[in-house]
């Protein structure tokens, strides 16, 4: 009885079909060196920088080529748009090609707002000092008298960074010079320019998404990002930025109704996008207004269809803006999902309580530190708020119900 073992599978994030491309065969052929990329130290995947160095650190060194980063927008779409612009600006500086799609603003307007890179390395990021586990006694001034047992413990690193630099820094107060910007090749997709013909067939995706997917596929084929084209040409990376998918401007009623008619349009599009990315040298950043989507199960499906997922929650307009605990930061950042490519264990960050701050020359993501609780009321408020905010839906139960088990 001879019958082979057969398996049906969608290649989920932990097993991308890179085994059929040359990325795996490092020993035999020359490693392709594409500017602006580097191989990951953990799993050998090719990584590009998102433009924000602390976000690169959170995602495990960078964004792997062929994957999708989902950004759940903050309420006014200010910081998610900022990260999208960082991503595109990084593409310009690394001389990658860009593909920008938007239904709200003209892609040309988005491209004109890109931040200016700091190219002369003035803001050199000093590598974070390694925590010292020194055995010899420290200075008399630093020596702890009461809590001396904690003397030799490592200092907590609040800023997230790795020792090697990868990526560039940008000055948000200036926009990029037109000469630098025009040196990069940009492909645009502006939805009002694509008239949607009403088709009689009941297609799975709505018109705007299928037009976008088709346009992206054409660009990939035409410009040679497909992995099936011969390797003799010099390769480059295509950076795809998709702004505010799922909003009503894309003719999608996901964010308008509790029971949308096209409930599978966005998920089908994301599936097709992933299929396109896995078979080409491209990387995508998608922003979704998740605060408008009421269905949590649908949001979970959307998150699972993307490889990396983060959510931004800004303090603007909420009562947290005046809370003294959060005075140094602009918002909270939640890591919803990090892929485990080519390995079993996932690389979720150890700390769930991350906050971000947009400074002029850096978008920094740091671990949120609480000041020491000196009064009863401050500590009560902070614990409840943080427990609600830091509920990450990955390998853990929901935060609010978890508190029941911890109360004693």
């Amino acid at each position: 009885m001879a019958a082979p073992v057969s398996s049906v599978g969608k290649p989920s994030a932990e097993r991308p079909p890179f085994s059929s491309t040359s990325f795996q065969k490092k020993t035999r052929s020359k490693l392709i060196s594409i500017p602006g990329t580097r191989p990951s130290v953990q799993n050998g995947q090719l990584l590009v920088s998102t433009g924000v160095t602390s976000l690169d650190y959170l995602l495990g060194g960078g964004l792997a080529v062929g994957t999708v980063l989902l950004i759940e927008e903050d309420r006014f779409d200010s910081y998610s748009r900022m990260i999208l612009k960082y991503f595109l600006a990084e593409g310009v500086v690394c001389r990658h090609e860009l593909f920008v799609a938007s239904a709200q603003d003209n892609p040309d307007d988005i491209l004109q707002e890109l931040p200016a890179p700091i190219l002369d390395d003035v803001a050199i990021h000093k590598p974070v000092e390694q925590p010292r586990l020194s055995c010899e006694p420290q200075d008399n001034l630093d020596a702890m008298k009461i809590a001396w047992r904690y003397q030799n413990l490592p200092k907590v690193q609040s800023a997230l960074a790795s020792s090697s630099r990868f990526g560039h820094y940008y000055d948000v107060s200036k926009t990029m010079e037109p000469e630098i910007r025009q040196a990069a090749k940009c492909h645009r997709f502006y939805l009002p320019e694509h008239p949607t013909q009403s088709s009689t067939t009941h297609s799975r995706m709505i018109e705007s998404y299928s037009a976008l997917l088709k346009s992206l596929q054409e660009v990939i084929h035409r410009e040679g990002f497909d992995l099936s084209t011969p390797m003799s040409m010099s390769r480059n990376i295509l950076r795809v930025g998709l702004h505010s998918l799922g909003s009503a401007l894309w003719n999608d009623d996901l964010s308008c109704h509790d029971d949308p008619m096209h409930s599978h349009a966005l998920t089908t599009f994301l599936y097709g996008l992933r299929a396109l990315l896995r078979s080409s040298l491209s990387v995508a950043v998608v922003t979704v207004p998740s605060h408008l989507i009421q269905d949590q199960a649908l949001m979970g499906n959307i998150t699972r269809l993307c490889d990396n997922a983060i959510a931004l929650e800004s303090f603007k307009g909420s009562e947290r803006e005046t809370n003294p605990l959060y005075k140094d930061y602009h918002g909270l950042l939640h890591v919803r999902q990090v892929p485990h490519l080519n390995c079993l264990a996932s690389q979720l960050p150890d700390h769930k309580d991350l906050a971000f701050k947009l400074k002029r020359k850096q978008f920094s993501i740091e671990r949120l530190h609480l000041p020491p609780d000196l009064s009863e009321t401050v500590s009560r408020v902070s614990r409840g708020e943080l427990a609600g905010a830091a509920a990450v839906a990955s390998a853990c139960g929901s935060g609010t119900s978890g508190n029941k088990h911890l109360d004693f």
Binding site: V5, T268, A297
Partner: protein, 255 residues
């Protein structure tokens, strides 16, 4: 293959029950590491180990046609972006996707049955990675249940093989809007059809670095006098070389 899990399930590559339908499900967690276990387990059943991370070389298995990998992602692109209008009309119903998938699986197994390869493999095993993706593509849960029923009839009963399916859910167990399109409904339906369930969940107390979650193993044996269900609960931790399973509270980080 995770040796601890194999001993929990009382199965070794040389001796395992045939005709089983195994369901792996997760809720707000990621159970895909269990798929790796089953993949290497069944490959090892007729294959000597080579030093890879889990001891099985997938590329070699593919070359010897022991493993046939049907990538829905690649095939789907031609469906999602129709090149000609005729194609769009033909593949508009969601059941077409399932029909394609089913035909794909059956053709693999029947081809293998006919060909006399160098190696003689045992009964076929069908591993379905993430049936919930079909739900996000718009396929109804009823159609997916039909698909699994037909696969089970062919693979388990007819060919005496095994099936391992992965289903992913989101949210609390009680919450269901009553519609029959949800993944909860699919999970319940599949759990009824299967003989062994591994349900992966996060810890009820929250995120922990050393314990990644808990696995509930549930055997549903059909004996002459009725159904007999046996449940066991374990906690697990996934690391690069595998996963370790232990009784709740006996994690190495705690003891």
């Amino acid at each position: 293959m995770f040796t601890e899990l194999s001993s929990i399930l009382n199965a070794t590559p040389d001796r395992f029950t045939q005709g089983e339908f195994i369901l792996v499900s997760d809720r707000q967690s990621d159970a895909s590491f269990l798929i790796h276990h089953f993949l290497s387990f069944y490959l090892r059943a007729h294959y000597s180990a080579i030093s890879q991370r889990l001891g099985v070389s997938l590329t070699q298995a593919r070359e010897k046609s022991q493993l046939i990998f049907l990538e829905g992602l690649k095939e789907s692109l031609s469906i999602l972006i129709p090149q000609t209008p005729q194609q769009e009309v033909k593949l508009c119903t969601s059941s077409e996707i399932l029909l394609l998938a089913y035909r794909g699986c059956m053709s693999m197994s029947s081809d293998g049955g006919g060909e006399e390869g160098v190696e003689e493999w045992g009964p076929p095993v069908l591993l379905v990675d993430d049936v919930s993706v079909l739900l996000s593509l718009g396929v109804s849960a009823g159609a997916v249940l039909d698909f699994s029923h037909y696969c089970r009839a062919t693979v388990c009963s007819q060919l005496q093989g095994n099936i391992v399916t992965l289903v992913r859910c989101h949210g609390e167990e009680a919450e269901d809007d009553g519609s029959d399109g949800g993944s909860e409904w699919l999970l319940k339906g599949l759990a009824h059809q299967c003989s062994l369930t591994l349900h992966v969940q996060g810890l009820p107390t929250g995120y922990c670095r050393d314990i990644h979650g808990q696995v509930e193993v549930c055997w549903r044996r059909r004996r002459g006098d009725g159904q007999h269900t046996q449940k066991k609960l374990f906690q697990y931790k996934v690391h690069n070389k595998g996963a370790s399973f232990f009784a709740p509270g006996t994690s190495s980080a705690v003891l």
